[in-house]
Point group: C2
Chain length 422, copies 2
């Protein structure tokens, strides 16, 4: 199949086109007539098929030459499948068992055949429904620690890290989406923006806020230049799939080498948006109070697990060219590497808060909003959670260097949610 020109798959031709690939028939059997094929792509960019047979199941994800959400007026290179494939196999190595196993990759057709997580649902929708997932924070915190640490000069051979960073620097168009829609568009009246008219006054205030706009671009500068590690690049609650007891991570097509705090920051922001949107999703007033607290507990645990695992890897797998044992432990100065660790975690923490604020703002003011808020039909009701998120965001972006702990941040989250700032 890889010899023919790119052509989008369809429910009708998928069996004929993929039915001779051993890696696929090993799982589904060769009787393509028995395959049950559904197109389920609800994302913004790609075709996604669930294919089931009596023998098994899998996902076929194929890039389209444009942004699906917008149409062919916004072209986007097929090569993003290449970057997603390369990110997936690296993540699988760095944190086994959390991302879908890749069964087959066809660069020409821009398609990845991979593990189907079932009965998992997108975490964002589970949170909107008030559904808890056991063990989730542990999976997410460990995933961040392991992929961030093991993809960096703290761990990798530097020649491999440099080659890898160069590879992902080819992902110009996907990075451009983040650079533009996340870091710039929200801060002025850009063409693709839209926002709830009920928050218009706050939006104008934020777009006049010099400190906010300057800090936003200090963070953009870090995002563009500081290639510390391979990031997922789009690590929100829509890139997580979960059941009551299992958590999996998908969709790293925006992968890039960037600053460590970016993934965790984006993730935390999405939990905080979920937190603020809960009252609007509540079956009756107060019905989600406990669930809101559960969300904050998850965030605290994600950060705590991240720090613990990052520190564990720092102590046991620090084999790269940074903070070498020769300088510290081998001189009987193990506390020197602990001092360095504490300072690096402080840096990551401040970046995390900054990027979280950036994500909160872009999800409310830029092109791609999040279902947590968008599913709230009543604009006035939606505006409440959106306003809380934006007020928090401003404090995080501008004040990130003065927020020592997650509990202090959550004190602020609750104060804002309780209307103290309104």
């Amino acid at each position: 199949m890889s010899d023919i020109a790119y052509e989008p798959l369809s429910v009708e031709n998928l069996g004929a086109r993929l039915g001779t690939i051993t890696a696929i028939t090993d799982l589904l059997g060769t009787d393509t007539q028995s395959w049950d094929i559904k197109e389920v792509g609800d994302g913004n960019l790609n075709l996604v098929f669930v294919v089931k047979s009596p023998a098994g199941s899998l996902i076929v994800k194929q890039a389209l030459p444009y942004v699906r959400l917008v149409g062919d007026s916004w072209p986007l290179p097929l090569k993003r499948a290449f970057f997603e494939y390369h990110a997936l196999i690296r993540q699988a190595k760095r944190d086994p068992g959390t991302v879908p196993e890749v069964y087959h990759f066809d660069e020409q057709q821009a398609l990845i055949v991979m593990e189907y997580f079932t009965p998992h649902k997108i975490l964002r929708y589970r949170l909107m429904a008030g559904e808890k997932t056991e063990g989730m924070a542990k999976v997410l915190g460990n995933f961040c620690a392991r992929t961030l640490f093991r993809g960096s000069d703290l761990s990798m051979k530097t020649a491999e890290k440099k080659a890898d960073a160069a590879l992902f620097l080819q992902s110009v168009e996907l990075c451009d989406i983040t650079e533009t829609l996340v870091f710039s568009d929200p801060y002025f009246k850009a063409e693709r923006n839209h926002h709830n008219p009920e928050i218009d006054s706050l939006v104008q205030t934020l777009r006049r806020d010099v400190d906010l706009k300057v800090e936003a671009h200090h963070l953009k500068s870090k995002f563009c230049s500081n290639g510390e590690t391979m990031l997922h690049g789009d690590f929100h609650t829509g890139s997580v799939m979960a059941t009551d007891t299992e958590t999996k991570i998908i969709d790293p097509e925006f992968a890039l080498y960037g600053p460590m705090g970016f993934d965790i920051g984006m993730l935390l922001a999405n939990f905080w948006m979920s937190y603020y949107s809960q009252p609007a999703h509540a079956e009756k007033p107060g019905a989600r109070d406990a669930f809101q607290e559960w969300i904050l507990q998850q965030v605290e645990e994600i950060w705590s697990v991240f720090c613990t695992e990052f520190a564990h890897l720092w102590r046991t797998e620090r084999t790269g060219i940074l903070y070498e044992h020769t300088l510290y432990e081998d001189q009987g100065q193990a506390l020197a590497s602990e001092q360095a660790l504490a300072q690096r975690l402080t840096d990551i923490w401040q970046d995390t808060l900054g990027f979280a604020g950036i994500e909160l703002i872009r999800r409310t003011l830029s092109l791609a909003h999040n279902a947590d808020n968008e599913a709230i039909g009543d604009e006035k009701l939606r505006a409440v959670g959106e306003t809380h998120g934006l007020l928090l965001a401003r404090e995080l972006v501008v004040g990130r260097r003065g927020m020592p702990s997650i509990s202090q941040v959550h004190d602020l989250v609750r104060q804002i949610g309780a209307g103290a700032a309104l």
Copy 2:
């Protein structure tokens, strides 16, 4: 010539091998018998020939497959000529007239034929001789501002910047030299280190200094990951050629994408080393006092010119994806971009001081020392300047965030030089 396998040039065969290349014969004429060929490479790595004819002159620089200083026991890829060529043509575009014009590049033979600066001498030796160069600070400050600004996401189209960063990420072995010899070796008893036995006690103290060793690796981390702009990469006073009135910059084979403060930091450190070594080169006690002050004036002017030109480019050429006009000027908030500029210059300043400290230390403790000190035969006398440099370095690396201005740093430089800290 580029079809045949790599072979080092010699004074004997250079005429025959290069005498058919039009770009060369256009300058020297075709009568290779009239060429006057001298091998003058006094650097650590390469063959360098000066070729003169009645019609003109040029430099032929050819990489060797090993480190010349050490021999073939230390192999080093020929590809460094490729990176030097690519750095030279970019620098020429970004700051016309300061680097040698390239007449011819042969990747296979790892050779660059370029402009011969004559009667220019290496700046380091001019400083050792107490010779001043008019206009030097302006050239060096402007060169830093223009190359750093114009090679970054502040100015370039980001697709070009990413492709360029990826290109230079291939320079693994040259980066490894900096990463190892500059940032790690000095801080423990590494095999290739050597130092003056007269400073042994201070060296031991520095190698036990936890804060210093931790900060050194925070700076190494920035060097390895923060690819803000194309750096010269080896910007010391040995990479500058000067007459009484002209200043030129050569030898960017260590070019890489890295943090903005690195080049200026290395440069300032070399001036401070020159400052501290002056008394040992003085014709009689006190004979270099005025020249020492001239050196500090040059440093102040380099920093001041750098800031002025960087600000000028910030205001007139900020066409990249960072701190976009759409967010600031176009909203009638020009002071927002001034706020961002001031903060970025502060960041660059702090990095500059940190990298300067790193350079001071490695030039005294690691493999490659500098002639300013090495030319002082008397170990006790040499130890005085070395000690001053190391004491300054420690303060710069650990205290860089608390040093607001160059005059405050120079107050410290003078205090240490006057023996206050001994």
